[in-house]
Symmetry: C2
Subunit: 465 residues, 2 copies
């Protein structure tokens, strides 16, 4: 019997009360984008501070220029214990169109879904009130049975995640010493499926660039000049086309520097997850994998870098036809980065690639649209494997380490501002309808999510140094 068995039993016994507390939180209309709900946001923060204070945290509402943060500490485990920062957000998305909701979004309940499974309905049930409460209730069950938490815990709940987190970076910078821990636990992601927990071990980075190619100093008549004058749309098209070869590889010299092959055993696990190209692309009306040939959906979207044109424009684009050779053509291009790819080097390599292809009487200008490196925990990281084992003990199927194709800004901020890795574990499902009407969170996600955190805290406390 594991050390956490009493806490797990307590969590089961607490479930009805845990749900009532979650419902209380969901009833608070903490819509961060709408100034009309400013007081509700503060009310949610205060409610959380009260709850955390009741279970042994030194908790406070912390003002920002926007909605307040909640910061709470529990150091009962002692200075020698591992120290985690748990992150979640108490704000929610707006609820319109309200008429599409089958139930009042702020009157939560456990209902039986068409799937036959029990779900918690309401705005924020999954994103992120239900998720963050799994951790709070886990702490409660542990403290009620063991008298204290096995690890040092700092909690950070944000109230602006759904509105761009304007206060987050300044707050992290101003409170770095207080918030820095050994690593962060971020609970805002999904399971692989209803039976399989997932840990996101990698997040792709991003480099955004905008380029404008200028040929003539004015728009030209394509009859008079056509065939003799440079057309910037041709130049742009050719460069974009040249950027990838027939096998879908990016041809920019040095682009793949820092990209490592995914270990075979990880690829084997991904293959077993069984998401085919048809599964993945079929939902959006496609069926054939684009991009690098000979790689699976998971490799392509989690572990390989990309170059995508996100926008292109030039010349006449209105109704009808205009026989013009444009003076300029532009594109927005982004690169998803993996492994150790350096955003600054990728940007420089792209610019050089473009510049080398601009005819001598034409010119190009570049505009930077941000850049961040990939975040990748080594697949053999003890942190990852401890969490994986703990999760595998709770759920019907073993936990899988996956990647994420996009970026989660908070993870980059923790890395950059606090020097901390993040463990991304969440219990949402793809069909939770977050940001949409009829948001739900599986009752199993909530219940076993609580139990999962009990196991993870226990495992972290007992992890060999």
């Amino acid at each position: 019997m594991s050390l956490s068995a009493p806490a797990l039993e307590r969590a089961d016994a607490n479930l009805p009360a845990s749900l009532e507390r979650l419902f209380d939180l969901i009833r608070i209309r903490s819509i961060s984008t709408d100034p009309a709900y400013k007081d509700e946001c503060r009310k949610a923060a205060a409610w959380l501070v009260a709850e955390l204070s009741a279970i042994g945290f030194d908790a406070s509402v912390r003002d920002t220029p926007g909605h307040p943060m909640v910061v709470a500490h529990n150091n009962e485990a002692g200075e020698a214990a591992p120290h985690v920062l748990f992150y979640g957000h108490y704000d929610v998305q707006p609820v319109d169109p309200l008429n599409l909701w089958e139930n009042d979004p702020f009157e939560p309940a456990v209902r039986e879904a068409k799937s036959g499974r029990k779900v918690i309905t309401g705005r924020g049930a999954a994103d992120d009130k239900g998720q963050l409460m799994t951790f709070v209730e886990a702490c409660r069950a542990v403290r009620e049975t063991a008298g204290k938490l096995p690890v040092r815990v700092t909690i950070l709940f944000e109230g602006e995640e759904e509105s761009g987190s304007p206060s987050l970076k300044p707050f992290l910078e101003a409170n770095a010493a207080e918030l820095r821990a050994d690593f962060a636990l971020v609970c805002d992601t999904n399971m692989w499926d209803a039976e399989t927990p997932a840990i996101s071990a990698g997040l792709r980075g991003l480099v955004g660039e905008e380029i404008t190619i200028t040929a003539a100093d004015r728009d030209l008549h394509s009859g008079y000049f056509g065939g003799a004058a440079a057309n910037p749309i041709h130049i742009l098209s050719s460069i974009l086309a040249e950027m990838r070869d027939a096998d879908g590889r990016i041809t920019i010299p040095g682009f793949y520097d820092g990209v490592e092959e995914t270990p075979d055993e990880i690829k084997a696990i991904w293959d077993k997850l069984g998401r085919s190209a048809e599964d993945f692309l079929g939902e959006v009306g496609l069926k054939k994998l684009a991009g690098e040939k000979g790689r699976s959906v998971h490799e392509l979207t989690w572990a390989r870098p990309t170059a995508e044109v996100n926008g292109i424009w030039g010349g006449y684009t209105g109704e009808g036809f205009k026989t013009v050779i444009a003076a300029q053509a532009s594109a927005k291009v982004s690169f998803r980065l993996v492994g150790a790819q350096d955003p600054a080097k990728v940007r420089a390599a792209f610019r050089k690639f473009v510049e080398e292809r601009i005819p001598e009487d034409c010119s190009v200008s570049f505009h930077e649209h941000g850049g961040s490196p990939a975040i990748q925990l080594p697949y053999d990281s003890p942190l990852l494997n401890t969490a994986k084992d703990a999760l595998s003990g709770e759920w019907p199927k073993p936990a899988v380490m996956i990647g994420m194709g996009g970026s989660i800004p908070i993870v980059g901020d923790f890395q950059k501002l606090l020097g901390m890795d993040s463990l991304l574990v969440g219990f949402g499902l793809a069909d939770d309808r977050i940001h949409s009407p009829n948001e739900k969170y599986e009752l199993t996600s909530f219940h076993k999510g609580i139990r999962s955190w009990i196991r993870i805290m226990d495992a972290l406390a007992n992890q060999p140094a």
Copy 2:
């Protein structure tokens, strides 16, 4: 002494009065695009009818749904004589911005330009009132000396050329029998330079196409789908890039069917005209010839076909950045045609070229934007050579046969609806500022233009059958 010598002398003697008549016409504010000047357009038509009637034409104002046409006939030469249709337009461009005019645009005068040359100033001085009056005054001088014209002449003056000629085609169709002649004389073009008359022997044709490539059935997130899902901007860029090879040749199979090499002697003449790439492109801030390698400016713009992208758009094109993979990307593409290229075949070949490059899970749609074949008089055509010799007798330098890169719709309409070739002879100069403030027509253009038509009519009448 040529047969036309007395008429030429009379034209010289008439010049002051000819100018006064041109001034009268310029004073009529026949701006066809502005409904406020509707009555002025009719007034110009009536004025022309009166002038033509006074010199032996059976002339009338002919109503259309828009501004009226002027049609006039003179058959004094007898049924056996060649029959020409002379085309010009009496409407003019608007004059704004008025404050940029150095003189009242509707108060014409002969003034000394900075060039030291005498010029006729005013809106329409060159485009096209000054040009069409060269022919009217030529007819006058011939009739005053020979008693009749040496060729049968039908005149068609349009009043909607500057506003898209909406009434022209229906009018040509409805009056085909009346308007059909052996060939048309179109006087709305330029000389090569102030000393060198030019005849446009070829006009490029045009095929316009719009294509839209559809990949997914919605816009996708480039983090989640990037690397796996087809990006229609990539597909479009690649197709456009593939459409031309490294030497600037169009790679669409069959595209060059019907394209013939320009005869060496014509190329030699063009080379002697001495317009370098730097001359031609320098005015618009470029210096290097794009398009097919190893060909001169004149070949590229007059005698070679092109494929130009006139517009391109797809994805996010606003401020900032959006990490989207667009569902669709579009382009407007046009082909300039030469020789015997068939617009329908070029369009079909392009569509096949595109369709073959669309991935099986994506699609493409096409939208047609018109098509017309090139018009090319054989360089050894007797008509061309007769006119060339006549012009060469008048001007300091021999006339040159040139091409035109763009289309002149009237020439295509004459070809298609009346089965007539057109001889394009005009006396404008590139710096006449047509459509701009301070439009002018060289006094020499007007004077020697009149004399040129006298010579041309004489030569046509005496042309060996």
